[in-house]
């Protein structure tokens, strides 16, 4: 979704729009709905620790009732994800139902099920957009994170979409230590398929918590990313996910605001409503769409959301000259790395989190895990064999 805020000149001053957003809106602007925890892959950084279907998953009828509610609330647009949403047998039925009820859909997929036939169907449907995940511009980089064969599957899906006449679908990249150097290559791939490049931040959420230390961009790579976004930002989507980089100087295009519980939320496959897609944890659970009053009541009245819409303390960050630019960064990134919510982002570009990260931290336990427990076809083989430096030689050699 493109936000045109700056193109609409304000009539006599109503105050800053961002201040209104901080107090929350009557309905979310950016709602992510994860349809299933089931997934045919096992990506190492999965935000939702997906793999196995949850038996309490919303039924087809419950999903349709929720779409009706979105229509009543005038939620014009939802981002559907998972898991892999296309593994739900009723996925295509729900897609049609949403579109027929004036709820546009962008869905994320690994591409395995986007056949030529499905691509033709998608190209013929208004109000539907597709986002194909690709986390490396080469199979080597991508498959280490997403699993063997996933690079080829994503490119095959994009070829099918292009050949079916789908334009400006999205190619979504999670930025990691291993692909920051490939930004130009990603742009070239997206251009080749008539897709729009979307870059997002690696969050330490879900299984991402287990690999974040090894995969998050290094400080000099963050600068490289920022400079690249400043040079190409008008043609690249970011889902507003790099606002912590605004502390380098110029803000990036977007709202540069944590929208959790204010303009953003997540509905998970069992109907739980969380403050944002990166915060699947009891700490950020606002309610459930099956509760009395449904989603509307959760959005408008959940105590957690009221708390997030009240004035926030910037804590230690308020003393920093860049606070107005980055506003302390991402709440979920702090939480899942065990940092205080009113302190700096773990990837603070001023280095203000370095001390806290070096100290002993207690990372929160994952409160929801639907990861596969058995063998998975295509399971990724991380390139890093030894994740942590051995503390003593005897950890490596029995003779030392």
């Amino acid at each position: 979704m493109t936000i045109l805020e700056e193109r609409t000149a304000p009539p006599p001053s109503p105050g800053k729009l961002v201040d209104q957003f901080e107090k929350g809106l009557d309905a979310p602007i950016c709602l992510t709905w994860e349809l299933t925890y089931a997934c045919n892959l096992a990506c190492v950084h999965c935000l939702s620790s997906s793999g196995r279907r949850d038996p309490r998953e919303l039924s087809t009828d419950e999903c349709k009732a929720l779409i009706d509610e979105f229509e009543r609330m005038q939620i014009f647009y939802v981002n559907i994800g998972g898991g892999e949403p296309t593994v739900r047998p009723d996925f295509w039925e729900l897609l049609d139902y949403a579109v027929d009820h004036h709820v546009g859909v962008k869905f994320s997929t690994n591409g395995f099920r986007i056949t030529a036939e499905r691509a033709t169907q998608l190209a013929a449907t208004d109000y539907v957009d597709v986002q194909v995940s690709l986390d490396g511009a080469t199979a080597e980089v991508n498959d280490a994170v997403r699993g063997e064969g996933t690079y080829d599957a994503a490119l095959r899906a994009m070829a099918n979409l292009r050949d079916a006449g789908m334009r400006d679908f999205k190619m979504s990249v999670v930025c990691t230590r291993h692909n920051i150097g490939q930004l130009d290559d990603f742009k070239a791939i997206a251009d080749r398929y008539g897709a729009q490049l979307r870059l997002t931040r690696l969050r330490p959420s879900g299984r991402g918590a287990d690999v974040w230390e090894d995969l998050h961009p290094l400080p000099e790579q963050q600068r490289e990313l920022y400079d690249w976004l400043m040079a190409h930002g008008d043609r690249v989507l970011t889902g507003d996910s790099f606002f912590h980089l605004a502390a380098y100087g110029e803000p990036l295009p977007g709202l540069n605001l944590c929208g959790a519980g204010r303009v953003v939320c997540l509905v998970d496959p069992v109907g739980d409503v969380y403050a944002c897609p990166f915060a699947i944890h009891d700490r950020f659970l606002a309610g459930n769409v099956r509760d009395l009053g449904g989603f509307d009541t959760v959005w408008k009245h959940a105590p957690l959301f009221q708390e997030l819409r009240s004035p926030q303390s910037g804590g230690a960050c308020t003393r920093c000259s860049a606070y107005d630019a980055c506003r302390g960064g991402c709440m979920a990134a702090k939480f899942f790395t065990g940092l205080p919510l009113d302190g700096p982002d773990p990837e603070c570009v001023k280095g203000n989190a370095t001390g806290a990260l070096a100290e002993g931290r207690t990372r929160p336990d994952s409160s929801r895990d639907h990861s596969h427990t058995g063998t998975v076809r295509n399971a990724p083989v991380p390139v890093t064999l030894l994740r942590h430096r051995p503390s003593a030689m005897c950890d490596q050699s029995p003779l030392a």
Partner: protein, 103 residues
């Protein structure tokens, strides 16, 4: 890209008849309204309730000027409102009447 809103000369558009594009829905919000274009998936913000009134009145007004008068916008503010309407026109949210909106 951020641009500084400029108060465009009020001439021209004032005499024209405009309307909300038929693919656009307005959602009331405390600050004014969200405008969403289902065709282009673009979202705009109408930053005051008065601007929402003006935009809603466009379809039944013979001109932008009539819509501004009916919404009770003082004449001194017209240039700013015309600037806002031009922004909405650039984003395809409103269009001159007589032209069909895109599906």
């Amino acid at each position: 890209m951020p641009t500084t809103p400029t108060a465009a000369p009020a001439g021209g558009m004032l005499e024209e008849a405009w309307a909300l594009d038929e693919s656009v829905a307005l959602r009331p919000e405390p600050f004014g309204a969200l405008a969403y274009h289902f065709g282009t998936r673009k979202l705009s913000f109408l930053k005051t309730p008065e601007l929402v009134d003006v935009v809603r009145l466009l379809a039944t007004s013979t001109s932008v000027e009539h819509a501004l008068r009916d919404a009770g916008v003082p004449e001194s503010h017209w240039p700013a409102y015309v600037g806002a309407l031009r922004g909405l026109a650039t984003g395809g949210m409103i269009r001159p009447r007589g032209q069909r909106g895109q599906a």
